[in-house]
Amino acid sequence: MENEFLKNRLNVNRRHFLGKAAVGLGSMALGSMMMPDLFKTGDLASSFPLGLPHFAPKAKRVIYLFQNGAPSQLESFDYKPMLNKLAGQDLPESIRNGQRLTGMTSGQSNFPMVGSYFKFNQHGKSGAWISELFPNIAKIADDICIVKTMNTEAINHDPALTFLQTGAQVGNRPSMGAWMSYGLGSENQNLPAFCVLLSRGRGNGQGVYSKLWTNGFLDSTHQGVVFSSGEDPILYLNNPEGTDKTSRRRMLDKLAELNHLGFDQNADPEVEAKIKQYEMAYRMQTAVPELTDLSKEPDHIIKMYGPDCLVPGTYAANALLARKLSESGVRFVQLYHQGWDQHGNLTGEMPLQAEDVDRASAALVTDLKQRGLLDETLVIWGGEFGRTNYSQGKFGVDNYGRDHHPRAYSIWMAGGGIKGGTVYGETDELGYNIIKDPVHIHDFHATVMHCMGLNHEAMTYKHLGRRYRLTDIAGKVIPGLLA
């Protein structure tokens, strides 16, 4: 964006520019004679055009089912019977090994370990252990890859969420979806390339903020578009009363003319972004009603996703909408389901949370699969960090809470480019530390980008004098996750 502003400033006074340039060009010529590479960027980034994958991708689109608040891995996908045996015993310092604590348990005098109150069973050909809270996800065990060794650097929700979504804990970088929109462009120009759907569970929740779907320093066309959780997912799409399609079209044409005039004066790229957005909004007037129309779908999708899928704003409805958006070429659909922050009353709240998401999450994967779309859609399910293997506050076998745990947690992925029916990585018997195959957030990003046909080191954006990547200066593709 800085470039456009510079260009404009140069255009403003041509004589001034030419005057300067005479001296400038001379020294540039001298410089280029002495250093032939002076004007060659020469790095990887410049060798790839924007808007296309760097190499043939496995996945063309992403649906990220974000479980906001950090669901406990110990009651979902990381089975640790040892914790049930040792229930109530203090976590040895040798295991905790200096791990910092949150303000919520730092005052605790001991850390009584506690095992899952919920039963685990093995599922699928891989024999993956999945808790009874997720009976439907268990049914698609052969389609998903459970990653048990995700680890992050942040220990509180906001920095952890921001880290996972933008690759940095400080919230000014573009979100994953914005990067994908920037790097791969939009498949369907009638819909935003990056859509965000929000829902709220019944458990203890944590907020989500627009910085999680921000375009950061990228053009604002790459920003996530939040859909409303009401009856109309996109508000104000209908023409106001007394305005027909033709006059709307004429109004937009005139508006675009005015905007172009403005652009010629100030060259603000946001003006061009605005023009594009108006045009897209106009096309969305046709595209969206078609998108949300359920009449051509068989009745049994209600049973598939669960009856909540007809109630706008629920997780199930968002999962169904996510499938429809993705099917219509939306590059990145991001769901957030709030309510997974079980510091206390885990045994009471987690079944409610799981009930909200289990059937619909599994249905989404099945639905994509049966339409032949799973091979080209990457589905990700998981939260921002894990939960401790010890109880926060008073300990009880049937009533306990778990604090934040960044060292190891579980997520699952399915579809495009991911090796389904596998469990990746191992944690120790107490579920505290990783003993094999860690997957850091940067690695996760690198792997997701790889599935999308992007070289995470090559997709950069120059801002404030340095090139930025989603993976910052780290990250490696994890081959064990790839099909």
Partner: protein, 701 residues
């Protein structure tokens, strides 16, 4: 002046000849090396002058004879001067190490000859330029010789086949060739080649690279710390041993990374691009290469400008990846579908490998169009009007692997016609309504057949709970509570007394409910063939009378001050998840003590204190509530103390109300004092700690 210059030229030419013949008997003093290094600069001057001479000669007819002769003389002198200077410098330079090749010898002698020839041209100009033919011969001969000398010199610095050799785009198939050697080409080989092997290092062939230079091998596979090349590259730029030397094009960050990782991964010259392991540094880099893992397409690419023509918001066509000639095509928005667009695509029939027509209004006629795309690999016809008639035409798409026909009225017999296609790997047939026998027959075929989700009739699902229509749980005077359900034929049952509704005995919801005062409505939904829904509890707050002013006698906790006094009577409730919400007032150290003044003495039937319950965040109900009333201008009188029932376990968070019957006339003002929990009970994780009290509103009716 002219004389001195010509004498100088003569002298230097003689010296030149002498050194050239007796070069092994001459030693050059070290200070002279500076003169030697001016060679690359000075040598360009005679070239320019010689070309100038040519142009000047052609202007002969336009210039007066005497002037012409004078200028010619001067021009030739200057030319000779710079030529001999350049030749001399070159000769000195040739004494430096690293130029031990035949090319150098040739360059040296021809250079000396050229210099002498140019001097002769000057000295005997009257002979050489006596007639036009001789003039032309001398000029062209000297320029020709100069070209030859220049070319030989160029070969030394740029390598033998720099000019005429094939452009180095040999299909690199090893990691070394593709990534490492290309960097050496760019950044090292100008000084380390067969002609100019500085430091005795010649990088012209793999064998020579393996040998290394005078400091030994360039690298040790797997040992980045002891690899000479890396050591030199990572030295400080100012360091004399830094490579490439200061002033030469430096290695970029990425190039350094490539070299480092290649050495780290064993410095194996043989690794093929196709053998790169996914955990290798080069795995993602190779994406841009056409290695065997990536499908190679032999057809030609369509230019970007061409593609532009076919693209529209409703039909997008793009290469599958950067640099690939293969195209994928997507159609969007069925109401904008134009069959002509599809017909036009036959111009791209070779390139299209993926076609998505799902939801588009196409019927069986589409197969003849699609059959033209002979390289098609993936075809999506989900939710279209096809029945399969003519589907056998797809057999001309010899590479078709994936065929999605879900949610169509596909005819079984027609489908069978394409199942014999050898390329076909996956067929998607969800919602095609084939009978079990047909399905069984299909399952026998060698490919993957996906029937997808089939509802399990025996599985009985739990219904979702009724949906509250009201947007706020605050009910004004005549407002009613309204419920609905997303499915047809659902019965909603409810209770108003806080008891759990029963799926067969409780009241059936028929019309919006009137609520008299604060209260709980519990609802559930039932439907034939479904399990009853969860029970949902809603709390409604009745707000008939508005207080004129509200005032907090003790301040709220500075972190949760809401919108000040107004917060209590603005009719808005706080978000039960977000306590930073400006509708909340939080109390921990202080009691909540609010005074409410009414416009005029009013009859108050009751009031509801709206508070939050979020046990895991220490937000608890108040311990006790005291009500004071002011009637007839008298001071506040204590009216009632209510001990609030306390919680006995962690609960799901929400907003609750404490309802107090007042039933008094002529109330001018009311005071409410509510105290937060001083010590959290034993069952609570934070036992012994102070609890919080969060209040968002007080309602009167």
């Amino acid at each position: 002046m002219k004389r001195i210059l010509s004498l100088f030229c003569l002298g230097l030419n003689v010296l030149l000849l002498f050194i050239a013949f007796f070069n092994d008997k001459v030693s050059i003093p070290s200070w002279m090396s500076f003169v030697g290094r001016t060679h690359p600069m000075v040598l360009h001057i005679p070239i320019g002058l010689a070309i100038g001479l040519l142009f000047f000669y052609f202007l002969k007819s336009k210039i007066e004879k005497t002037s012409f002769d004078l200028i010619l003389e001067n021009l030739l002198l200057i030319l000779s001067f710079f030529a001999v200077l350049s030749a001399f410098a070159g000769l000195v330079l040739s004494f430096e190490n690293g130029y031990e090749a035949a090319t150098l010898q040739n360059h040296k002698y021809t250079g000396v000859i050229l210099s002498i020839l140019l001097y002769a041209l000057y000295e005997f100009r009257n002979f050489f330029f006596s007639n036009p033919l001789k003039s032309k011969i001398s000029i062209f001969a000297s320029i020709g010789l100069m070209l030859a000398v220049g070319h030989l010199g160029g070969n030394i610095t740029h390598g033998e086949d720099f000019l005429f050799g094939p452009k180095k785009e040999v299909e690199a198939n090893t990691v070394f060739e593709k990534f490492v050697n290309s960097i050496l080409d760019k950044k090292c080989k100008s000084c380390h080649n067969s002609q100019k092997a500085k430091g005795k290092l010649d990088m012209s062939t793999i064998e020579k690279i393996k040998i290394g230079g005078k400091n030994g091998k360039l690298w040790v596979g797997g040992d980045t710390l002891n690899s000479h090349l890396l050591k030199r590259a990572y030295l400080d730029l100012e360091d004399k041993k830094h490579m490439p030397p200061k002033g030469k094009p430096q290695l970029t960050e990425i190039e350094l990374n490539v070299l480092k990782n290649w050495i780290k991964e064993g410095a194996n010259y043989e690794t093929k691009l196709s053998d790169i392991k996914p955990n290798s540094f080069f795995y993602t880099l190779k994406g841009e290469t056409k290695s065997e893992n990536v499908k190679v397409y032999n057809f030609s690419a369509v230019s970007e400008g061409q593609l532009e023509k076919y693209n529209s918001p409703f039909c997008t066509i793009a290469p599958i990846a950067s640099g690939s000639p293969a195209l994928k095509v997507n159609f969007f928005v069925s109401s904008k579908f134009d069959p002509k667009t599809l017909q036009d695509l036959s111009n791209l029939s070779e390139q299209i490998v993926s076609l998505n027509l799902s939801k588009m209004p196409v019927d069986d006629g589409v197969f003849s169009e699609i059959a033209k795309f002979k390289n098609l690999e993936y075809l999506n016809l989900n939710q279209t009007n096809i029945t399969g008639k003519g589907i056998e035409q797809l057999k001309s798409c010899k590479n078709l692997e994936g065929l999605a026909l879900a949610n169509t009225k596909l005819n079984f017999g027609e489908l069978k016609k394409v199942l014999s296609m050898p390329s076909l790997k996956k067929v998607f047939l969800w919602e095609t309504h084939f009978n079990p026998a047909q399905q069984a027959e299909l399952k026998k075929s060698k490919m993957d057949i996906e029937f997808g989700y089939v509802p399990d009739e025996s599985e009985i699902l739990k219904l979702n709970a009724p949906i509250l229509v009201n947007e706020s749980s605050v009910l004004d005077k005549n407002a009613k509570v309204q419920f609905k359900h997303s499915l047809q034929n659902v019965e909603i049952r409810y209770t108003l007394d806080g008891s759990v509704p029963d799926s067969s005995k409780s009241l059936i919801y028929k019309e919006p409910l009137s609520i008299k005062n604060y209260g709980q409505v519990s609802v559930l939904a039932t439907k034939e063939g479904w399990l009853a829904s969860n029970v949902k509890n809603y709390y409604f707050f009745k707000s008939d009378i508005k207080a004129k002013t509200a005032q907090l006698n003790l301040p709220a906790d500075p972190k949760y001050v809401g919108n000040g006094n107004e917060t209590l009577i603005d009719g808005k409730q706080g978000d039960p998840i977000n306590f930073k919400d400006k509708n909340w007032l939080g109390f921990r150290e202080n009691n909540f003590e609010g005074e409410f003044v009414f416009e005029k003495p009013t009859k108050i039937n009751g009031l509801t204190l709206s508070y939050a319950e979020k046990t895991d965040a220490y937000i608890m109900p108040p311990v006790s509530v005291d009500i004071w009333v002011k009637i007839g201008g008298k001071p506040f009188e204590h009216f009632k103390k209510i001990d609030v029932p306390q919680l006995t376990k962690l609960t799901i968070s929400g907003t609750k109300g404490l309802d107090v019957k007042i039933d008094k006339e002529n109330i001018e003002a009311l005071k409410i004092v509510a105290s937060p929990l001083k010590k959290l009970p034993n069952w609570h994780p934070g036992k012994g700690d102070k609890g919080w009290l969060f209040v968002d509103e007080v309602f009167f009716y």
